[in-house]
């Protein structure tokens, strides 16, 4: 340990922050003295797999990304359960809740996001939770052991995963969604209809086009009231209506923030010593909720921290996959289309399959896959590479297996 090394302090022991550190260690091992502060009392875990933790398909150990030993091996000082509460940018020092004060040469903010909590009457009742961390999952599991009825507000990715998980844990779950298209950020009406049927087949109660107006209960929540006046009994209410970048700390330290911490293409904030990655940032007006762009941010940010500052982050198309076992769903790019675009559509309702590719000229610009998402990654690649699909257009929607011979000259001649 050399006292002359510059110090990098990382705020947030989540996926974005730690991926940046991992990338950094690959590029410039030993360049920094690294200290990591995390609010949660665990090591670094894969937040995407929380829904599998909820269903019981994975255990806590299985979703851990980096073990405490890893931090030790890599000479990283890890402070769990001890969030940074203040940043003194002038003196380049941070203060933790437990009172640790540490100077930095570079600061990486990776505070992630907080679940949005609707400003509904009764939101503070016990039994009302978000779905964001291991403690939320534990809270939900606890409720599932004791109570019967649950309501999930929000039919987006997290809401559906939460509803499915609770249902798998034996609760009677009502999923409440504002529009009649589930996953309306990712699906069109056709695919959403199939999804709705599938969820109903799993025993979920769906309330679409339903606005929640209040929660009721004396101490613990007992149910929700919808705009049409109907009441839904619920001993557990999960709010999954989106996330907000967690910018409280950044803001209080005077960093320029809008919806998120504003960063440039190098993930640098308005303070040249401070970088930010992940769901807490805002890059060219865009905030983030999916993992793929975050990995890319980590790569770019690490290169700048490593002083190989040549990479640029460009926000790109994103793809989504729902992690509900038995539901295969994928969506990417411009899956709605419109004037100037063509559609390839495959419907097999009996097998529960719906696939749609949106083409612009001879390029794929969007994909919605339901029931058979095997080729999602391949389509995403075609979207990103803007490949000319003319020779395989007739087979494209049937997947890579059918297009391989046409694309691979060696195979075509064999």
């Amino acid at each position: 340990m050399s006292a002359t090394r510059p110090r990098l302090v990382v705020i947030g022991n989540g996926m974005a922050g730690m991926r940046t550190v991992e990338e950094l260690l690959l590029l410039a091992p030993g360049l920094y003295d690294v200290a990591v502060f995390g609010a949660e009392p665990y090591g670094n875990y894969n937040r995407i797999l929380l829904s599998m933790l909820l269903t019981g398909e994975k255990s806590v150990d299985e979703i851990m990304l980096n073990t405490p030993e890893w931090y030790v091996e890599n000479d990283i000082a890890l402070h769990t359960g001890d969030p940074i509460v203040a940043i003194d940018r002038r003196r380049r020092r941070v203060h933790s809740r437990k009172g640790i004060e540490l100077g930095y040469d570079r600061l990486l903010i990776a505070t992630g996001s907080q679940p949005a909590i609707l400003p509904l009457p009764g939101r503070d009742l016990s039994g009302v939770t978000g779905f964001r961390g291991i403690d939320d999952v534990e809270h939900m599991l606890e409720a599932a052991r004791t109570y019967q009825h649950a309501a999930v507000i929000g039919g987006g990715l997290l809401g559906i995963e939460a509803a499915n998980g609770l249902s798998r844990r034996g609760m009677r779950v009502t999923l409440i969604h504002r529009t009649n298209v589930l996953l309306n950020q990712q699906l069109n009406a056709d695919a959403a209809g199939l999804l709705a049927r599938n969820l109903q087949g799993r025993g979920l109660e769906l309330r679409l086009n339903a606005e929640t107006v209040s929660l009721y209960g004396s101490e613990r929540v007992e149910g929700v009231v919808l705009a049409d006046g109907s009441r839904i009994k619920a001993d557990l209410v999960v709010m999954a209506v989106g996330v907000r970048p967690d910018i409280v700390l950044a803001k209080s330290s005077g960093l320029h923030c809008e919806s998120g911490i504003v960063v440039d293409d190098t993930l640098q904030t308005y303070d040249p010593h401070i970088y930010a990655v992940g769901e807490c940032v805002q890059h060219r007006r865009v905030t983030f909720g999916l993992v793929a762009p975050v990995w890319e941010q980590a790569r770019v940010c690490a290169s700048h921290l490593a002083r190989f500052g040549h990479r640029r982050y460009r926000s790109s198309q994103t793809a989504t996959k729902l992690k509900v076992t038995g539901i295969d769903l994928y969506s990417a790019g411009d899956f709605i289309g419109g004037a100037g675009t063509d559609d390839l559509v495959l419907r097999d309702p009996r097998r529960g399959v719906y696939k749609r590719l949106v083409l612009k000229g001879n390029r794929v610009v969007g994909a919605v896959l339901y029931g058979d998402a095997k080729d999602g990654g391949w389509y995403f690649e075609l979207i990103r590479s803007a490949a000319d699909i003319t020779p395989i257009r007739d087979r494209l929607l049937f997947g890579q297996d059918y297009c391989q011979p046409a694309l691979d000259p060696a195979r075509a001649t064999a």
Partner: protein, 902 residues
């Protein structure tokens, strides 16, 4: 227990052993003892068992009511009505106001009674047969040369020849078993040369030593040239010509005058001089030469002259009536010759006797004891339908044939029947293009149900025997004719109770007053057709009758060859050289109709497909009607291979798919004869063919019609496979093809439906919104595909596209054999082909990036990857949510242990 019978297709007349299983399935095999085929069968014959089902069969009599709809009636009512209408029209307008149009598919016995009714009782010779369309030029040629309609040789001659000349015959496809006999002998080296004379390069040419692609219609030049060449090169048998022939000098003079110079002949016929001379030299050199000819010769406005130009060459060289030589007309139908024997042509009387000879008329009338006798030739097929159209013939009884499809200028035939007062059709199928115009439909027996005799191309009489029960109320044609005759008031003459009684009467008539010497002043006439040896058969002997070649004289032995003694049927016993002057087909091409249309059969279909159209194994070879043309002509006409074209003549038009078979000379097109309104939207080539006939035989010129080919523009192409037959109503182009457990429709349409899915569901009758319906659509390129499954079994599938590039039907067809579709097949269904297991990336491990197990294992092996991170670096697998990382580790361990182990 199998039944020995005879194949009902071409004129080869193969013996068939048929057996019916306990479950009713019919199995056939070649009869090893039959001298036509010695156990072999062609593909059509071998598939006979698939054609005898009752699908589409006419099973009870029907009469058209005043509302124009056919209604089922009792036999008694049907017979009464048919008899009454014929009686009424004869009484009002005379016997020549009625006519019979019969078929080479009838048995001798059926033919015999209908001929007897017409000529001896009604008193009209207005009975013609579809043999007019294929054989009548050969008949006329035989009569002119030999004095009687006689094929001198037999099939063995083909195996004993040194040179076999196939003229106007795609023998390989149209007479496959005879062709196999030729090909086998040629391979063994016994036949030295096979020459094919045909404007088309056909399958037959593949086994030939020389193909002469003559310009259509120039055969007489070719054979006149040959006659002159043979004379000039000393190949003449002067003793034979002097002793046994007449008319040589004049015939030779004309031949030498117009075709004495081979260079000129080669130019006119469009042949290479060297090829022409090769043929001439071979012919001059080979004593044992057989000239086998068929429709390419006969179906011409100079068909009879072509036949005689061939026979002339055999007379000049004396090559006739001896083993391994002779002119040989091969017939198209199983009983074309048998029909001629009983007089089933408007130009003959009966038993090879002539209408215009008083002695012959007297012989037949006194034998029949009939009230009257036709005394002048009746109307030949083309004239007959003209007369119907003009209202001169007011009643017609059509038996076992489909003139709306098979006649030239067939639209005219359609209009004629539409205005005919009384049309009766005896058929085995309910729906045919002709039956649509019938007022009475009489259900006939089909092959396997009917019982009687047929005569093949080599004069061999064989039994067709029943091995299936009569279906529904169907009856033998002879019985129906007898019943109608009696109801018309002819109490005598039609009291037959079984076919053998009719056959015996026919045999006795052939022998009756047949000879050279008058006895007791009763005039006689010598005929070569003499079945004296068969006149004493009782029922058992008839049933047990083995194939025999006529004449069958008193000793009961058949005759292998005729004219061996050099005695011909003309009164002076001499054969005739017929002076034949060449002439081109009547209608020449011009700038409006610049191409020559040729028509013919395809390998696996027969006539109008009523039977062969049922057998999946026959429909696969040529599923669709086509127009085969030279690529240069296609370019000039603006049509493309695989797309649709309209073929138009002055007489009509039809639509078919363009092919480049490679065998068509520029300036010519070929269209098959089989397709009709039951199998395609608009593919009756008969409607296009010119109604020109040979002036002597009356045989139409099917092989030469000036036409124009033009694009048939459509917006989309497609096909449908369906377990259920569907009505392709309102579709611009369709062809229906029977498959194994499904029907296939090739379709094309001028307009694309606005909503393909809705249109498809409506057409396929899938109204249930919960039906298992898969669909794929690429709207902007006009691609739509759908499949309907019921209980996981494929019910139908439909593929549409704006270009004729559609998936192969082959694999999709095979799915109809499965009672339950495998998941993999279901997924592949709308691709139209099975997933290539080699191309599969395997079970998905990384679902974020869709990376399969196989891809990952290959990468681990080939790039020696040892960490999940390295896999991610190469394949991106594991690089998103990371949930597959443990599986990646496991795969690394697996692959590496395999590598180490090996």
């Amino acid at each position: 227990m199998s039944t020995a019978t005879t194949c009902p297709y071409c004129g080869v007349g193969c013996g068939v052993l048929a057996r019916v299983d306990a479950d009713g399935a019919v199995h056939v095999q070649g009869d090893p003892t039959h001298a036509s085929n010695f156990g072999r069968l062609c593909v059509k014959g071998a598939a006979l068992g698939e054609t005898v089902d009752l699908q589409g069969r006419l099973l009870h009599p029907m009469l058209r009511g005043s509302d124009g709809r056919l209604q089922r009636v009792e036999w008694g009512d049907a017979l009464d009505r048919v008899a009454r209408e014929f009686r009424r029209i004869i009484d009002e307008h005379g016997p020549d106001a009625v006519a019979f149009y019969v078929s080479g598919q009838l048995l001798i016995e059926d033919y015999y009674v209908v001929n007897k009714l017409a000529k001896g009782y009604i008193g009209t010779a207005n009975i013609d047969t579809n043999s007019r369309l294929c054989m009548s030029s050969a008949v006329a040629g035989h009569k002119r040369a030999f004095g009687e309609d006689v094929v001198p040789g037999c099939y063995e001659d083909l195996e004993q020849a040194e040179l076999v000349v196939l003229v106007g015959s795609n023998t390989a496809w149209c007479h496959p078993i005879v062709f196999q006999r030729i090909a086998k002998t040629r391979e063994a080296g016994a036949i030295k040369h096979v020459v094919v004379i045909d404007p088309r390069h056909t399958a037959t040419c593949e086994s030939a030593d020389l193909h002469l692609p003559v310009k259509p219609g120039t055969d007489v030049w070719l054979f006149n040239g040959l006659l002159a060449f043979l004379f000039q090169h000393g190949a003449m048998d002067a003793r034979f010509v002097d002793t046994h022939t007449e008319g040589f000098a004049k015939a030779l003079a004309v031949a030498e005058a117009e075709a004495g110079d081979p260079a000129e002949v080669a130019r006119i016929c469009g042949l290479q001089m060297s090829d022409l001379l090769t043929f001439y030299r071979w012919f001059a050199r080979c004593e044992r030469t057989v000239s086998l000819f068929s429709q390419g010769v006969n179906q011409s406005s100079s068909g009879t002259d072509k036949v005689n130009s061939i026979i002339n060459c055999h007379l000049l060289t004396g090559r006739i009536g001896k083993p391994g030589m002779g002119p040989f007309s091969i017939t198209g139908q199983p009983n074309a010759m048998g029909g001629r024997e009983v007089g089933g042509l408007a130009t003959m009387l009966a038993a090879h006797m002539e209408l215009d000879k008083p002695v012959h008329r007297d012989i037949v009338q006194s034998f029949w004891g009939s009230p009257c006798m036709a005394h002048r030739p009746g109307l030949k097929a083309v004239d007959l339908f003209d007369a119907i159209g003009e209202g001169r013939v007011k009643a017609v009884w059509i038996m076992a044939t489909n003139p709306v499809v098979s006649m030239p200028d067939a639209d005219c035939v359609k209009h004629a029947l539409a205005r005919c007062e009384w049309v009766v059709s005896s058929d085995i199928m309910t729906h045919t293009d002709t039956n649509a115009y019938a007022h009475a439909l009489l259900p006939a027996l089909g092959w396997g149900e009917k019982d009687g005799t047929v005569t093949n191309s080599e004069r061999c009489i064989s039994r067709q025997r029943a091995f299936l029960p009569a279906p529904g109320e169907a009856r033998a044609d002879w019985r129906v004719v007898c019943d109608v005759a009696r109801r018309m008031g002819y109490a005598q003459g039609f009291q037959f109770s079984a076919p053998h009684e009719i056959f015996l009467e026919h045999a006795r008539l052939t022998a009756f007053r047949n000879g050279d010497i008058e006895a007791d002043g009763v005039p006689v006439a010598r005929r070569m057709l003499n079945l004296d040896g068969l006149t004493h058969l009782n029922r058992e002997a008839y049933d047990a009758m083995t194939p025999v070649r006529w004449p069958v004289l008193a000793d009961g032995q058949g005759t292998t060859r005729l004219f061996s003694e050099g005695r011909y049927a003309h009164a002076d016993g001499r054969a005739r050289f017929v002076t034949v002057a060449s002439r081109m087909p009547l209608h020449a091409t011009d700038c409006e109709y610049p191409l020559v249309l040729n028509t013919g059969r395809v390998r696996d279909q027969w006539h109008t497909m009523t039977r062969t159209g049922k057998a999946p194994r026959l429909t696969g070879h040529t599923p669709e009607p086509f127009v085969d043309m030279h690529p240069h002509d296609a370019l000039r006409c603006g049509v493309r291979e695989g797309e649709l074209a309209r073929v138009c003549s002055r007489w009509g038009a039809m639509v078919a798919r363009v092919t480049h078979g490679g065998g068509i000379l520029a300036g010519n097109v070929f269209v098959p004869i089989h397709w009709n309104d039951q199998f395609a939207s608009d593919a009756r080539v008969g409607g296009v063919v010119n109604p020109v006939v040979d002036p002597i035989s009356g045989e139409p010129e099917f092989k030469h019609t000036p036409v124009r080919v033009e694009p048939f523009p459509v917006r989309w192409y497609g096909f449908l496979l369906s377990r259920r037959a569907l009505a392709p109503i309102g579709i611009s182009y369709w062809t229906s093809i029977q498959g194994d457990r499904f029907r296939r429709y090739e379709i094309a349409h001028r307009e694309q439906p606005a909503e393909c899915g809705e249109w498809a569901r409506r057409w396929l009758g899938v109204t249930d919104p919960e039906a298992d319906w898969l669909e794929y659509e690429d709207r902007s390129t006009g691609v739509y595909r759908a499949a309907h499954l019921v209980d996981d079994r494929i019910e139908s599938c439909l593929f549409l596209a704006s270009r004729p590039h559609l998936p192969s039907r082959h694999w999709l067809s095979s799915l109809f054999m499965q009672d339950r579709l495998e998941d993999a097949d279901r997924i592949a269904l709308l691709v139209g082909e099975p997933a290539d297991p080699e191309a599969s990336t395997g079970h998905v491990v990384c679902s974020c990036f869709g990376v399969g197990r196989r891809t990952i294992c290959d990468a681990i092996r080939s790039r020696d990857l040892d960490t999940p991170a390295k896999i991610t670096a190469h394949l991106r697998a594991g690089g998103n949510c990371g949930s597959c990382v443990p599986e990646l580790r496991q795969l690394i361990a697996e692959v590496r242990s395999q590598v180490e182990a090996s």
